[in-house]
């Protein structure tokens, strides 16, 4: 209820801000460049619309954390401002997320994102690298706007958090790409990779929200942990869906992480079991028609249960951290709802 209520107001404001910043490229010499970014963001071209934009989880998380921490008692006069104030920070992080998606699609050679041809598929790899770069530059332009509504010191703190998250993102991406060629990976190698690739930016969302919202140090730390564990549980659940989700099992079995040969938590755990699954994996690429049997095999080897338990554990840690942060008001309730929503998704 709270989430739906706030989302209805926040989402249009996020889209408007994103469009304004991306609109910086809407100049005579770069109109076609602007179109590429607008297409990627889901606002134009084939299949545009709410399916194509994604759920804007990250900016939502910034705004909710900001609102939930700025309305804390005793801070009413200085910090209890409208969530609109945090829009530049929210926009910045969503642009960073999209920069990473555009480059990720190039690196993974993915032809589709949210059912639409990727930027490199439409305009070639060289322009796609450039589209990603431009999204990242625009993110920094949004970042500088934080200072218009907040003291410079707070804005600088937000900047430092975001830079460190980007470094983590890039390091996670390095590990992910490296892992493709490594055959002696253990389950332990999984966590630093997804801590960077997925959790770093989600943790930056909650840290930035709490920092701008004026939360004290221990509250900021709790929000940081909340974002971190939310990111881990989100990724483990994603890995789960990549094998046992609807789209992996039914209809488009080529989308299964098993066929893609991805080093995910279930596959790494399955390999560590050194059973039938590991033996088959070692023999070479898995074909679409084997997906059903092999995912059943992983169930028998206890991998499905292990993955579910890992998600639950990370979710518990996320919720505990969120409780410790004592999020206030309607935004606080919405944060708890958001956790449930993210981790009950089926695709």
């Amino acid at each position: 209820m709270s989430l739906e209520n706030l989302n209805t107001r926040m989402l249009p404001a996020i889209e408007k801000e994103l469009k304004r910043i991306v609109g910086r490229l809407d100049e005579p010499n770069t109109r076609h460049f602007h179109e590429m970014l607008v297409y990627h963001m889901g606002w134009s071209g084939e299949g545009s619309g709410s399916e194509a934009t994604g759920k804007r989880i990250r900016p939502l998380l910034v705004l909710l954390t900001f609102a939930a921490s700025s309305s804390m008692s005793g801070k009413a006069e200085t910090d209890a401002r409208g969530w609109e104030t945090a829009l530049p920070a929210a926009t910045c992080i969503e642009l960073i997320h999209n920069f990473s998606l555009v480059h990720d699609d190039i690196q993974d050679n993915s032809e589709l994102r949210r059912g639409r041809p990727t930027v490199w598929k439409k305009w070639g790899m060289p322009q796609a690298v450039n589209v990603g770069d431009a999204l990242f530059i625009l993110a920094h332009i949004a970042l500088l706007e934080i200072q218009n509504a907040f003291p410079l010191e707070k804005a600088q703190k937000a900047g430092a958090i975001i830079n460190e998250a980007c470094l983590g993102l890039s390091c996670g991406q390095f590990m992910d790409i490296s892992y493709e060629k490594l055959n002696d990976l253990a389950v332990e190698d999984y966590w630093p990779m997804i801590s960077g690739k997925t959790a770093a930016l989600l943790s930056a969302c909650t840290q930035v929200g709490a920092t701008l919202g004026g939360a004290d140090e221990s509250t900021r730390e709790s929000y940081r942990n909340f974002g971190h564990y939310l990111g881990l549980s989100f990724q483990v659940h994603d890995d789960y869906l990549g094998i046992w989700g609807d789209s992996a099992l039914t209809g488009k079995s080529t989308e299964s992480d098993l066929v893609a040969g991805k080093k995910t938590l279930p596959t790494l755990y399955g390999l560590a079991k050194k059973g039938v699954f590991a033996k088959r994996w070692a023999e070479g690429p898995i074909q679409s028609d084997e997906v059903g049997d092999l995912s059943d095999q992983l169930v028998m080897e206890g991998v499905k249960l292990f993955t579910q338990e890992a998600t639950d554990q990370m979710t518990d840690l996320a919720i505990q951290s969120l409780r410790a942060a004592e999020p206030q008001g309607e935004a606080g309730e919405a944060l708890f709802e958001l956790v449930k929503l993210l981790l009950s998704r089926k695709a």
Copy 2:
């Protein structure tokens, strides 16, 4: 003399700062990632050394402009600080330059840079995209360090200048890539492309130096113009060398811009002439053994002279702007020497 004297002191300091920032990746999980950046920066691997690092023109320009504008009379107490203070800004811009080089090599499919295999050639395109991204992220980490030595407002101004320059860089890159497929380009299309691709970052160097140095508005404007015109003359001279330079004509004729089919000032002017050169260009890719005759043809059509005159014109504007900025002391002298050095280079 002044330039050599200052360069001897500044260059090692620049390298040290760059190494410190890039060293952020020197962690157990990302050691190999760190190696990739260290290789690209010219510090390790085959052919490492001063030939491989490049001349570090951009950071030098930041430090010299800073020193030349901060020692202005009447500002001695507050602003006449050692050039070391501006090192984070210098480092930031050099990292941005290198981020753009790594991505540029991917986009242009260039296998060599400064005589060494490019990052994508050594470690594949996916990791190279990531190496470029990491250099850009590290640039922003260096940028945030500006605030340690300068008031927050100055640091923010420097950040805004740098962000705008990056946007210009990306837009210039967009035009450059688009131009490859366009056959109806005019000479006028050339200037916005190189204003972004080359001049934007050089102009940011001088603007940031002057801003941190405490120069007044009109002096900052003069330094801005100086960097801008220096960038334009630098690029036009580069285009000149790409056809009539030593490496284009002798020995490695495959390096000629004519063989690469690049849309440079001389080729665009040659096409506009609609003569023998334009006719040959329209017939398809130029072969190595045609380079001698075609570059002679361009001389006859007045293209070489036109290109030289364009360089001279931009150089004059750069020197006029620099004079208007009234650069002070040894650093001021060094700036004039730097212009001469850059525009008398033969390769």
